[in-house]
């Protein structure tokens, strides 16, 4: 049943994400054409400049929408299908409440990753070709390696080998954060839904409360790491320990959020 729920949610969310994704790619192509025109045609063309400005503004707005929408759509879908009138359909399906949460969470994370990929593709469209070469040269200068024998690729590869544990931890942390951020909203909406009125407002207040609690925990982690830091410990190990602690905290709080959300949907559902 998890597969069926995933498929249903993937389709339901897709109709919200796809127009944004298509919009970003379309405007990236248009923007690129405009850039090419601007370099080949006279800069004096007022119409071209205005058009370029307008398209750039639209492009930036769509990029912002995609960045924000990644998780927002997932949270909206969860709230709408579980706690509003649609909840009468969702919550009477012969499936476990945990399957409902997991399917929506997986789809949310997947589309958030798609959002980032689409942004990367649009970025590539913008700088592909000679613009990409210019950008890479810029990077070489920034990193101060333009005069050395090693290429940028060698530089990146050597960094990966030297810092593989750190990079692995960062990668796992990024993935865990995607799940964690969505779960924090889920639990806030689940708790907020238990109230009899002003549920959404209460959910937002609860979310802000959870973020504040996390700030205290983060401060605690910082103090703990500072206490752990001895003179003979390498800086890279300090970073790894810090990342591992943050990862552990995120996993534990994420699981708590999941189980609380599940418990509320299972036993304390409060549909109007």
């Amino acid at each position: 049943m998890l597969g069926k729920l995933f498929k249903t949610e993937f389709k339901a969310s897709g109709r919200l994400y796809l127009p944004l994704f298509i919009g970003v790619i379309f405007f990236a192509v248009v923007e690129r054409i405009m850039l090419e025109l601007e370099t080949s045609v006279s800069n004096e063309s007022l119409v071209l400049n205005i058009l370029f400005g307008v398209i750039t503004v639209i492009f930036v707005l769509i990029i912002i929408s995609v960045c924000v929408s990644g998780q927002f759509i997932s949270i909206y879908r969860f709230y709408k299908s579980v706690f509003t009138d649609e909840g009468y359909l969702t919550n009477t399906l012969p499936v476990k409440s945990s399957s409902i949460i997991i399917s929506k969470l997986l789809v949310g994370v997947l589309y958030t990753v798609f959002s980032y990929l689409v942004l990367m593709v649009s970025g590539f469209i913008m700088v592909a070709g000679h613009l990409l070469t210019n950008a890479l040269n810029g990077l070489r200068i920034t990193f101060g390696i333009e005069n050395t024998q090693i290429s940028l690729l060698d530089f990146v590869l050597s960094s990966i080998i030297n810092l593989r544990l750190t990079i692995t931890l960062v990668a796992v942390l990024i993935i865990a954060s995607l799940f964690f951020n969505i779960l924090m909203f889920y639990v806030a909406f689940a708790i907020g839904n238990m109230a009899n009125r002003k549920k959404v407002l209460l959910s937002i207040i609860i979310y802000i409360g959870i973020v504040n609690v996390l700030s205290f925990i983060s401060a605690g982690v910082a103090v703990f790491v500072d206490w752990l830091t001895w003179d003979n410990v390498l800086m890279v190990n300090v970073i790894n320990i810090t990342l591992a602690i943050i990862l552990a905290v995120i996993v534990v709080i994420g699981l708590v959020c999941f189980f609380v959300t599940n418990k509320i949907i299972k036993s304390k559902l409060n549909l109007e």
Binding site: T8, A12, D85, P94, K266, E272
Partner: protein
């Protein structure tokens, strides 16, 4: 006749408000039951508990001998008082969803009923009137070969002609292995299709009798008895 629904000492509270108070109830297969009571009497709460949308504070509730859960949701077909079909869907999308999740969904039945009520497969839910959405929901719910149908106000929002069709649908789908619980205020309209009547007030069971018993004992119709019992 075997028992499909059993409540023992069923109590549900919303804070300090007691919605259902120590309710004992038993429903057998093969019956069409009218669940009647004034506003706020606990009818919808009882239906939501059976559908698995709420959890009782105390007492036992079983459907086909099982506690409420995935197995009971497989055999309970629930029509809420709300329209729950997502607006972005077309008729065909919600039919596919029912087909995917309910093993007892009968596609032939749904096709016939959609045809009878003039609802097209590719019609958008967003463009439908409230009444048409309610008809579609009822079609979906009645197209399942369920063992217990819970219909919460199934005829309140539709025109009298559709009301007749819906009642005919309920009777036509009569199955000796299934029970139908209908909650409504429009008693006169459904009285002829009922076998049993359950009247509740302030969460307490007031009357649980067959329609024939009511007529024989009080010499009144169900509608008349309701007006007498719940006189304001």
């Amino acid at each position: 006749m075997s028992e499909i629904l059993k409540c023992t000492g069923l109590t549900k509270k919303y804070g300090s408000l007691v919605a259902l108070n120590n309710l004992d109830l038993s429903v057998n297969k093969g019956q069409i039951i009218g669940l009647l009571g004034p506003n706020g009497s606990g009818k919808t709460t009882l239906i939501k508990l059976i559908a698995g949308l709420l959890k009782q504070n105390s007492g036992e509730l079983t459907v086909n001998g099982e506690k409420i859960g995935i197995n009971t949701k497989k055999i309970v077909s629930y029509l809420p008082e709300r329209t729950y079909i997502p607006d972005w869907m077309r008729v065909v999308d919600i039919i596919r969803m029912f087909e995917n999740f309910y093993e007892d969904f009968n596609l032939e039945k749904v096709k016939t009923m959609l045809d009878n009520l003039g609802i097209k497969f590719n019609q958008r839910i967003k463009a439908m009137s409230k009444g048409t959405k309610e008809k579609l929901q009822l079609i979906l719910v009645m197209s399942r070969e369920a063992q217990l149908y819970l219909l919460d106000e199934p005829i309140a929002g539709v025109d009298p002609a559709a009301r007749d069709y819906i009642l005919r649908t309920i009777i036509t789908n009569y199955n000796p292995e299934a029970a139908v619980i209908i909650s409504t205020h429009l008693i006169q309209d459904i009285e002829t299709v009922l076998d049993d009547v359950i009247m509740i007030q302030n969460g307490n069971l007031k009357i649980h009798k067959t329609v024939d018993e009511i007529r024989e004992e009080s010499g009144k119709s169900v509608d008349e008895l309701f007006r007498e019992v719940f006189r304001c």
